[in-house]
């Protein structure tokens, strides 16, 4: 129930914030999803959806954080192993 994969908003429908919805593609499977809780969501955004409600927009700038963390670890490891001058 708490599992969700990111889906891409293809298009949005409606102006009323309560009933606004979007067509969201999950790897090609398209579902109608409520955007009531993401008033700022727009086409091409990736969103996390639970029980038919989009609840969070994927932050593109943060999407590489995992890899930057690994790079930073490797760099720290390298510093520690560097011989003293």
């Amino acid at each position: 129930m708490c599992l969700a994969v990111p889906g891409k908003i293809l298009s949005t429908t409606g102006d009323d914030p309560i009933t606004r919805s979007g067509r969201v593609s999950f790897g090609g499977v398209v579902k109608e999803v409520s955007l009531a809780y993401l008033p700022e969501a727009k086409a091409d955004d990736y969103v996390i959806v639970h029980a038919g409600f989009a609840l969070s927009i994927v932050d593109e700038a943060e999407a590489t954080a995992v890899f930057e963390y690994l790079t930073q670890l490797a760099a720290e490891d390298g510093e520690e192993q560097e011989p003293a001058p």
């Binding site: 129930m1 969700a4 309560i18 993401l38 639970h50 932050d59 690994l70």
Partner: protein, 362 residues
């Protein structure tokens, strides 16, 4: 798929594991809160790749598993009533009640319908004005916004034939209950990323301080989980106990404010019993007085549905609290299987017993 496959990269996972092995100097016990994380850990075998000193306990974050037997029996009683259309998320249908499950009600002719969204149940109510439509509103903070919206819209539309059977639960009080227990072995938590997408993680600051426990908000893909474990172990090795966020691409500290607002308008916090664990103060949500007309337990007379004890052989309560692993239960894999489950932890796609049966089978 974008934002999915890259977080399953084997080379990056190997580097992450190497970093964890280089970091650990002592035994540590962590708990991943969410059943979705448990399944990912078992599916990808992450627990077997960690240093032997690092133990992962599997937490209570499976809404299907912790829904009390009494609520399941009430759902079965409601679904069995002539004229009722009973709507539910699919994974509740095979959860054993006292003498049968919702699927058996459906097989016997009951109108039990699986819906993807609670708004589908509202539509069914709209399309069937002569029938009573009951939606089984279960779940953690991730499903509460949708269920709140369903009842909010039903009220706005004056849908007199729609109601909710509510069994909502909240994560932070369960963490406190685990930490306050004398038998608690948890030294650090991987908090459930999607619950935090809704609620943010400000609620965890006082818990982390009070119990001196690191809490790392963590995602669901292998690289997320390994990074969450690394962050949590780093805190433990350095003697820190803080709230950190691994899952920054999805979770903001404040969470989703519009969702929190509607949830708090429709629901109020109540004490709630957890199946296999017992009552936890302030751990559930119930409809506010303004929405009592939409409460199935007030609309229908359910007093005949009594309280029955849990099957003695099922040890799901201990599994849900991280006290035993599923494979330590004598019934596991023999008298208890996904086809013939004794308890909900063997049924649900988020249950720890189901994860062990599917991916480990020992």
């Amino acid at each position: 798929m974008k934002y999915l496959d890259e977080y399953r990269d084997p080379d990056a996972a190997r580097r992450s594991l190497d970093a964890i092995h280089a970091l650990v100097t002592r035994p540590w016990t962590l708990m991943e809160v969410c059943g979705g994380q448990t399944h990912a850990i078992l599916k990808f075998g992450l627990d077997e790749l960690l240093p032997p000193q690092v133990e992962l306990l599997h937490g209570p974050g499976c809404p299907v598993c912790v829904t009390p037997l009494e609520k399941i029996d009430r759902a079965i009683a409601l679904a069995s009533r002539p004229g009722v259309i009973f709507c539910s998320f699919g994974d509740m249908l095979r959860v054993p009640g006292t003498d049968r499950d919702l699927l058996a009600v459906k097989a016997a002719g009951g109108d039990v319908r699986v819906v993807y969204s609670p708004l589908d149940a509202v539509k069914i109510a709209r399309d069937n004005p002569a029938r009573q439509v009951v939606f089984f509103a279960v779940g953690f903070e991730t499903t509460a916004p949708g269920n709140a919206m369903a009842v909010y819209r039903a009220k706005a539309e004056g849908l007199a034939n729609f109601s909710l059977l509510v069994s909502h639960v909240l994560v932070p009080p369960a963490l406190e209950a685990i930490l306050a227990s004398a038998s608690c072995r948890v030294q650090g938590f991987l908090a459930a990323g999607h619950v935090c997408a809704v609620m943010g993680y400000e609620e965890y600051f006082p818990i982390s301080v009070r119990y001196r426990v690191p809490i790392v908000v963590t995602g669901f893909e292998p690289l997320d989980i390994l990074m969450g474990i690394h962050m949590c172990l780093t805190q433990l090795e350095e003697g820190r106990a803080e709230v950190e966020n691994q899952y920054t691409r999805i979770v903001r500290q404040e969470g989703n404010r519009p969702a929190q607002l509607l949830v708090s308008q429709v629901f109020e916090v109540v004490d709630r019993p957890w199946r296999g664990i017992g009552p936890i103060p302030g751990s559930g949500l119930s409809l506010r007085r303004e929405y009592w007309d939409f409460d199935a337990e007030r609309r229908f007379d359910l007093t005949a549905v009594g309280l029955t004890p849990e099957p003695a052989e099922c040890r799901s309560g201990e599994v849900l609290q991280g006290l035993i692993k599923p494979s330590e239960c004598a019934a596991f894999g023999s008298r208890c299987t996904p086809e013939h489950p004794l308890g909900a932890t063997m049924v649900s796609s988020e249950g720890a017993c189901a994860a062990y049966f599917r991916h480990r089978r020992q």
